[in-house]
Point group: D2
Chain length 409, copies 4
């Protein structure tokens, strides 16, 4: 057993440190022994846009919390109840914590497991203020209900070889895919994706995998738009003085201003809408745009995060937990909205198979991954906050031999 | 051909008259001859809560418009292109106007037909300001695209015998059912239905037909709640000082404050929420309640009407076309919302079959239909506005022999 | 701990005995300790048509096997890994054995769990030759993977009160329901159900619950047909000289000879087809009838059991594991077939909710349950084999106080 | 109006001629005027494996029938009831004939339209003995119910440019796709496709488009297998002495002998199974293989044609309309089967969009299309019968400028 466990530790908004938090125990957040758990030695653990919500203080978290919900690792210790998972297995950890035996888990809604967050009553996740499970931006982490939750890769060598894509299975690839599924993206769909961050880029890749025809991604960040464009998709700029529907019409042709499906990959920290809006956070901008561009009988997926527990909400209405939504005009279009976190287990095995058989050749380029050592994690948070078009992946043990020690730009 | 066609005519908010509007022509709203149309002699034509939105001036309509979108009749004239429908057929007319050949119609979204409302570009209906199609609260009416749209009853005598139930197929039974389907009501579901008006009562009957377990209907109107209670369902009172979730918890037992499915059968004219709220219109009250009581991973159907074109919106935000919705707190529950009008053709044949084989024995009692002659229509609008627990059905020719000439209660 | 465990024991075709098989252990079929298991004291354990296949030697089983896969009981002992299930819980046991962590279980296909039958590689069940799990027609039984598998009833008193219906949740009600779901029975469907045995009668009740319009059940056994008729459904007699499609046409009217959905609740021991067929086993009769009466674009559910391991197959083709099916004529109708065992966990909670809220008032009468003591089990097998219209339910401890000691009729 | 209409005319098994059959009229097969029809000038009209069934006398057809159900053309005349389609439109014609107003058409089952085949009562098609509609391997053809049925391409020039792919929309691309959809192919699925003819190759492309992982195609024809292999998919050879499950196991690795999904793109003329089977027609070989390789809870799509009206059925059982199927062994795997013709309109718009946005770059190479003039049609039938790996596309007016007059090999 290792003596130390250095981990990205949240000390308050904009305050992160790499601290030794101690080697994890097979115990639940209250300290009770749990024999259905395993210990992982992290291979890769990614920094996510959701981590930035915590970093910015927009999603409250306790000081001392270890961050990191996008984890891939090697099993180094198993509890006595674990039957299927073995020491040495290389596994992807869905970011949701899920028990496997509650009603919601049985019905495949592992995003709202009823046994993983005692305080809220549902919805657990690692490295969030959702149930007290410590994150994996660390050397080691504990994963409960291992037999149910862990996705085992068939071959270690192959896993390391495809790690840039496989590391996305813990959250953002399933999340982008889920957004598309909820928006009913399928063969031939025209799709608008709000946000060209890592989740938005995964949503674009997912729309492609799902057979979409015209895939349009909107972002005010040019470097991120360029990644999307280079992968062969269309882009719009919400900060332009040309309204988004006009930009979409120009792309689609034939006078169409509507898309079949729309996905919100931005959430509550939306900014950069309108020519004067770049610096301003307008919580409702994405959802109101989606309702405007969706076709009659169309559907919207909303994996972008919203919360009423947002100390930094930009206006009075938002602070009270409300959003000013243009729902009345949308109603007559018979739209459908699906919100919330992705139940990763619903999709990760299928997406792994697609990756292993090389069905997403566009994924690596779109994501623009940079693998870094744990030491560079805090710097990477800042770079990501500053609008970097990279997806940062921490390799705490340099297992992949890909970690670069040089600067993040 | 009849010389006259007396019809319920809208002259402005709270101003209706029975006027002779002239026998209808086989012509579209712009006067162009359409040979795919038929003329119906109305058997029954119901007054709907949506008609009240027009009556109240909350859904703008031109003076001179004939009301009535819930129509059942006998075919008395057919255009030369009509192949399937014959003179003498007894038919139910879906309230949506739908062409049968546009993309949306082919995909069964007849609620948003692209050829039935030139002004808006989609969504046509009779007796609304949606495409200019005249309503059927009249002696005769014209129905376009007859082969595609009309649902023929297999037997005239049987149709008249079951007319109290069959007359609901043109709108409110499919609409209540659609709300339940969108809310994913199925075997064993617990359901909250907002509103015990005719649509809400049809939603309760639909939930029953769909196999729901605990069916809870909320309304501040006691007479309507009593209809629901007598049919064997549960009720809550939104005007009580006990919050709705507490009332629901008491019904469900086991500490549950959540329902599996929730349906909005109220819409923009919501009032009667909270102990002091009975007289006040609070546009968001129903939707915010639904988001509060829905379980994690639950779904909501929203057939209740909303519109941004509401001259009587109760506050500044609403007047601008926005609603203050508690979406941020709901997001973490991974909810699903589906809004809009019901595509009646998706459900009416199936529901007709269920009625003809007596599978909704509870429907007649729940609806509490009163059949009236055309002369009493204006009085019935006022009675319905006043909160009557009746569903008013106009029989302009006394075909059913059920029309009562005595006063409404 | 009890010293004895009297159980219905299979000694060979038509040879059953009540033997003391010893109190069960928390151990898998190979004798390995399993701490995820519990011991149940049986409350009710039903005799099933599938048991008759074993009784008849048509589904091979080892001598000494304890029968019984339809089990409801009280938890009297829990393994150390069990977290959710407690001693004293009243639970329904799905007849499939399922681990909860294999791919199929996670995808809700608990009927083909990959960890419950080592020999075959998938598909475990109690009291069958499917994985070696002992049945529950006994005083006590062991149930593995208890947290995942067991359906807990909310209240013991209520459970005993509704036990005649709740005891059906372990197999035949979900199985009949599954057949209907696979046949896409929904609101207004016309349905043909082959077989008026207990599963067929549960399928009729399920079709009713699912909103079907015309429900037609075929059986050559008049007493079983009468149960169906008295519940308000239609019946046809396959042994009549009038072909089944002609009998159906007479019921449906309007010249229709097709149904929307068809369900096979008979399986391989089909007999009684055609006027001369009553004594003869014709393995293909049901499936070929279903393909004949199904409408174009219709669907068939096939929960009726077939197996290639049938020592008593009626002809040479069948003995080789083939059936002579009229598939070529059916092909042009674009039919859909779904076969196999019911994944009980997909449906049992929902059906329990429907029972607890009294949404299947017709179920008790249709099933015609007789509760008997364990002593009468062997006699009941013979009576059921002889064509009794009862559903026999064994109450080994007379917990329900319903067990009648008098002779079966 | 053209004076002549040269067409591929069926005169009996293996007897085809190009005859002038006269310019088509706006009339139904009985000669009744139909104003909802249009006349097309053919741009492309493909030769299909189904045409070979007719050519071989395995699907009976009247002498004098014009062949051709895979038609793309320019509208040159419209009936007076046609509203949406205009002279000059470039359109794809779904091979099914469908009215748009019967129950099945409204429910999107245009493959079993109730008004397009008076003799059978359902299921119409051009150039088949299914309703008497003349085929389009000709200069001109008549298409009824044009507003409902025709898929308009947005731009003529673009259509001609992508004609090799777009010409597949009338049948085989939707048919292969439908087979995959019915087999529930989705992201990450492993798929076995029986047959590397044009439909099988379209199924492989469809599986790719649908996100499948490992795509395996079986055919004894090496040239066809090579097309599949070159496109990056896996192949097996049914004529090998190694059983297909063993070949599949070798491809999938990890000891798996099962696929998630299986598609029959062969049908009744199956031959080439087993090392000694290459010359022999074994009607059941494909279906029995599919049942063997499908995983528990897997699904099979069966677009391959079967019929009980087959004068050339290979054995006595087949001649009576039965097939000896290994259903009993498959039953315990809980499989699902969906058979029949593809409802082209369910898929063609979506697939057109995918083609227009270049989402199937692999399609052209897989199909290996050769465009030929009408004069070479009879020769192409023979070449296709001989096992050519080409897809023959007739361009009767050399609109595409692609027609090669040189020999077919
Ligand atoms: Zn993340
Ligand atoms: Zn859970
Ligand atoms: Zn209405
Ligand atoms: Zn339309
Ligand atoms: Zn059973
Ligand atoms: Zn399992
Ligand atoms: Zn074809
Ligand atoms: Zn049709």
């Amino acid at each position: 057993m290792a003596a130390t466990n250095r981990a990205v530790t949240f000390l308050g908004p904009y305050k992160l440190e790499i601290q030794d938090r101690g080697y994890p125990k097979l115990a639940d957040p209250k300290g009770k022994k749990i024999e259905h758990a395993v210990i992982l030695k992290l291979i890769t653990t990614n920094i996510c846009g959701s981590d930035l919500h915590i970093y910015h203080g927009r999603f409250a978290a306790p000081s001392g919390m270890q961050l990191g919900h996008e984890n891939t690792g090697e099993v180094v210790e198993v509890g006595s109840h674990v039957e299927r998972i073995k020491v040495g297995d290389i596994v992807s950890v869905p970011f949701n914590v899920a028990c496997g035996t509650c009603r919601n888990c049985k019905e495949r809604h592992t995003d709202v497991c009823l046994n993983a967050n005692e305080e809220l009553g549902f919805c657990g996740a690692y490295g969030f203020n959702l149930g007290g499970w410590q994150g994996g931006q660390a050397e080691y982490m504990m994963v409960p209900w291992a037999d149910f939750q862990l996705l085992k890769f068939p071959d270690k060598e192959q896993a390391i070889e495809k790690i840039r894509d496989l590391t996305l299975l813990s959250d953002i690839l399933p999340t982008g895919y889920h957004g598309c599924v909820e928006a009913r993206v399928g063969t031939g769909s025209t799709v608008y994706i709000a946000g060209a961050g890592p989740v938005g880029r995964c949503a674009a890749a997912s729309a492609h995998l799902l057979g979409a025809s015209c895939i349009i991604v909107g972002d005010h960040n040019k470097a991120r738009r360029d990644l999307v464009k280079n992968a062969g998709y269309e882009v719009v700029d919400p900060s332009s003085s040309t309204p988004i529907p006009d930009q979409i019409e120009k792309i689609l042709g034939n006078g169409s201003r509507w898309v079949d499906a729309a996905v919100d990959c931005v959430g509550l920290e939306c900014h950069g809408y309108g020519p004067d809006g770049s610096g301003k956070n307008e919580e409702e901008a994405v959802l109101n745009t989606l309702m405007e561009v969706i076709k009659p009988a169309g559907a919207m997926g909303i994996p972008g995060v919203y919360t009423n527990l947002d100390p930094g909400a930009p206006n009075e209405l938002n602070k009270k937990g409300f959003m000013a939504l243009g729902f009345p005009a949308a109603w007559v279009k018979s739209p459908s909205f699906t919100a919330g976190q992705c139940p990763v287990m619903h999709y990760n095995r299928e997406l792994m198979m697609a990756i292993l058989w090389d069905r997403l050749p566009y994924l690596t380029g779109l994501l623009n991954t940079e693998v870094i050592p744990l030491e560079r994690a805090v710097e990477a948070y800042q770079s990501f906050h500053d609008g970097s078009a990279k997806k940062y992946v921490i390799d705490p043990h340099n297992t992949t031999r890909l970690a670069s020690s040089s600067g993040t730009r």
